[in-house]
């Protein structure tokens, strides 16, 4: 056993003045319990200031105590003299956290802390966390540092938070920064007048103020004190800063608890609602469409194998004719895309909300784009074949008008999302609306303009291969007649040619895109 040395016969437990003495800063029971367990007499001393309390532990006239949250950190940077060892959890709470609150009289017109300019403010002792350190930091953050005397009418410093509350009630100060623990206590015990104070600001959480002892105490003795305190809730009713304590816990446990109080699930309930509703809609659709995946697998593989067998090998006997038709298809797509671009520029500009001259024109342009997008080019081509006869022209017109609807929508969206800075700069230099369009709008959308046009060209070539089916020119007519005659080997050769064409076009367009952007 380590030999207990000298001055431990009489200890002093010092308490910083966070509250008025009494129930809300009650260490009597804890000290009495310690006295009994340690078989030592302990003098409980309520100090008049945070600083005195702190110094008395530093100079050895007290050995343990309670100093608030910040005092020891502030004066004892390296933590050499004072060691925190336990922190109290108030009854009904999970962590020791509390906050600094800015309070005003409810009649006051101060709504937020920014309004404190030119007002008088009451703070606590310089070593109080919630009454000085935290409010100082928060005020600095909004550009009202308390060191600048000109900002405030007056700054008062009072002994503790209860005093600060009294002053706000009396009206001798406009606002005060106090600890939430004192405020809650006051709120509970003053039901009648608790509407007369209003909280205008609540700081981030401050971790609870610990019990401390002098670091140079005998280690054996320190362990003993700590274990008695951590176990005390099993024997006595505990008190402390803020009222009745549930128990005292280890500092590290407290730190973890403090951090744990911030943990939230990585995925909120909204995500789960979203996923489960999506899954239910999906299952409803599958059931409604009477889709049977097992049947699909067993039946379709059988027939798919059969038709694939009949398609191979491809028959390239009239390759020359097919290539000629493919070229015609590309020409139709090319002309159709050109038509779409020409038509979509004015319609696109007019259907952008920020460019359209007025709402009426905007709605008309929008309606045009929606109308042409809503009619599939197949239908449009069928109608045009009836109107102007077989050949390439109905294909060109159908592709042109249908994809004009898409391009105009793309342009309009790009224009609506341009960077507004250059537009403002030109406006400030007195440019006209048309000048702004050509100098600030068009250069910004050029890269996506080219990208979109290439995409539409790519798409139109794919669609043009099908348009022949309704008689609007191109390779599609050949494809359909081969199907009708059950010449599946010819079908596969046409599919192959289409594939090669699309493959080449795709590479070409991504090459062009990489060059222009």
């Amino acid at each position: 056993m380590i030999k207990k040395k000298n001055n431990l016969k009489k200890l002093t437990f010092v308490v910083a003045p966070a509250s008025d003495e009494g129930e809300s800063l009650d260490f009597k029971k804890l000290v009495k319990h310690l006295e009994e367990k340690l078989e030592t007499s302990i003098n409980l001393k309520y100090s008049n200031s945070y600083k005195d309390a702190l110094l008395s532990i530093k100079n050895g006239s007290a050995q343990l105590g309670w100093l608030g949250s910040y005092a020891y950190m502030k004066l004892d940077q390296q933590n050499t003299d004072i060691e925190p060892f336990a922190v109290g959890i108030l009854k009904g709470r999970i962590t020791s956290n509390y906050h600094s609150l800015f309070i005003v009289n409810s009649k006051s017109d101060i709504k937020k802390i920014e309004d404190l300019r030119t007002k008088s403010l009451t703070l606590s002792d310089k070593f109080s966390a919630s009454g000085y350190e935290v409010p100082k930091y928060e005020l600095e953050n909004i550009g009202l540092p308390i060191t600048n005397k000109k900002i405030y009418k007056n700054i008062y410093y009072v002994k503790n938070h209860d005093e600060a509350i009294k002053r706000v009630l009396q009206g001798s100060t406009d606002a005060a920064a106090i600890s939430s623990i004192n405020f809650e206590k006051w709120f509970k015990s003053n039901q009648k007048e608790n509407r007369s104070l209003r909280v205008i600001y609540k700081s981030p959480a401050i971790s609870g103020p610990p019990l401390v002892f002098a670091r140079n105490l005998d280690p054996f003795f320190k362990d003993k004190i700590k274990s008695i305190v951590l176990d005390a809730h099993n024997h006595i009713d505990l008190g402390g800063y803020g009222g009745k304590m549930d128990r005292y816990i280890d500092i590290e446990t407290s730190q973890t608890k403090h951090l744990e109080s911030y943990i939230r699930p990585q995925w909120g309930w909204k995500t789960f609602v979203l996923i489960s509703s999506f899954v239910s809609v999906l299952s409803f659709v599958v059931i409604d469409l009477e889709i049977n995946f097992l049947k699909l697998l067993s039946d379709s593989t059988k027939y798919l194998g059969d038709i694939l067998g009949r398609m191979l090998p491809p028959d390239f006997s009239n390759l020359k004719n097919l290539i000629y038709l493919m070229l015609e298809t590309i020409e139709i797509a090319f002309l159709g895309t050109f038509l779409a671009i020409i038509l979509s520029i004015p319609v696109g500009l007019l259907s952008a909300r920020n460019i359209a001259p007025n709402y009426f024109i905007y709605i008309i342009a929008r309606t045009i784009t929606v109308f042409f997008r809503s009619i599939p080019e197949f239908i449009m081509a069928m109608i045009l074949v009836i109107a102007i006869g077989f050949g390439a022209m109905p294909g060109v017109l159908a592709l042109g008008f249908h994809t004009m609807g898409f391009l105009a929508k793309f342009y309009a969206e790009d224009i609506e999302h341009i960077n507004k800075g250059p537009v403002e700069a030109l406006k400030s230099a007195g440019a006209s609306k048309r000048q702004i369009i050509s100098f600030a709008v068009i250069p910004q959308i050029i890269p996506s303009f080219i990208g979109n046009n290439l995409y539409i060209l790519d798409r139109n070539i794919r669609m043009a291969t099908m348009l022949g089916i309704v008689g609007a020119g191109g390779i599609g007519y050949e494809l359909q007649s081969s199907f009708r005659m059950f010449e599946y080997q010819k079908v596969s050769s046409i599919i192959f040619i289409i594939f090669v064409t699309i493959f080449l076009i795709d590479n070409l367009s991504s090459y062009i895109r990489s060059k222009v952007s």
Partner: protein, 248 residues
């Protein structure tokens, strides 16, 4: 802890970024590399953690020369913070900080942003160190520049590195935020004993916060001096804008 010997690097366009750098950095030091833009300080920093391949010379980290095999260990032990923060803007602060732990997390679970309780506590601890615990679940794009850089620092220190590389950490910040960030780095250097190599171009900040200043100009070291004995006028003079003799 870090030894750089005769380090050379020439870019493909012919720019000679580093022309033979010799440098030793001791554990726990706060070293500033000072130099105007284009002096090669970013290249130097990026060669240390393998973001840039070197042409010749060697870098020794701890007791071993950095090579292809060793570099992943070096990256594990090195944190980096960037001028433009390089955070994922539409993720929360805590998810950004947790991304610093991806190296040591379950590949499958982390794909779905799932982390262990311990890792979350580590992230919150990092956020508390940089003073932004209460912003843990705010999206990064709602924070100010200084706060974003503090998230960047939290992300860098969560894996408990022994070396922190800071590439112009305050170049996009106002003077007040810049002071705050550098004093935070200083605190991290002292309290966690993390070696810091920080690129700056502001002479006053370098003198105010670092232990040692290395002056870089045109890919070569001009001076290497403890801040205690540095000749301020000499340094200021080198980086004067109108110093034609030294422009390039």
């Amino acid at each position: 802890m870090l030894l750089i010997k005769d380090l050379k690097k020439t870019f493909q366009n012919g720019t000679k970024a580093l022309r033979g750098i010799n440098l030793t950095v001791n554990a726990g030091e706060f070293v500033t590399i000072l130099g105007p833009s284009g002096s090669g300080k970013t290249t130097l920093l990026r060669s240390i953690n393998g973001l840039e391949n070197i042409d010749s010379g060697k870098i020794v980290f701890g007791h071993r020369k950095i090579d292809n095999e060793y570099i992943s260990y070096v990256q594990k032990k090195t944190g980096m913070i960037f001028q433009e923060y390089n955070l994922v803007n539409n993720l929360s602060s805590i998810n950004n900080v947790l991304s610093g732990l991806l190296n040591s997390s379950s590949k499958f679970l982390s794909m779905f942003y799932l982390f262990t309780h311990k890792q979350k506590l580590q992230a919150l601890q990092s956020l508390e160190t940089v003073g932004l615990l209460d912003k843990a679940y705010s999206r990064v794009d709602q924070l100010s520049g200084g706060q974003r850089q503090r998230i960047g620092i939290a992300r860098a220190i969560i894996k408990k590195p022994i070396l922190l590389l800071a590439d112009e950490p305050v170049a996009s910040l106002d003077p007040r935020a810049a002071n705050l960030i550098l004093s935070l780095l200083k605190k991290i250097c002292n309290e966690f004993n993390i070696t810091i190599i920080c690129n700056l171009h502001q002479v006053e900040l370098a003198i105010k916060f670092s232990d040692r200043i290395i002056g870089l100009l045109d890919g070569s070291i001009m001076f290497d001096s403890s801040t205690k004995i540095i000749d301020t006028d000499y340094v200021q003079n080198i980086y004067r804008e109108d110093n034609k003799g030294l422009t390039f």
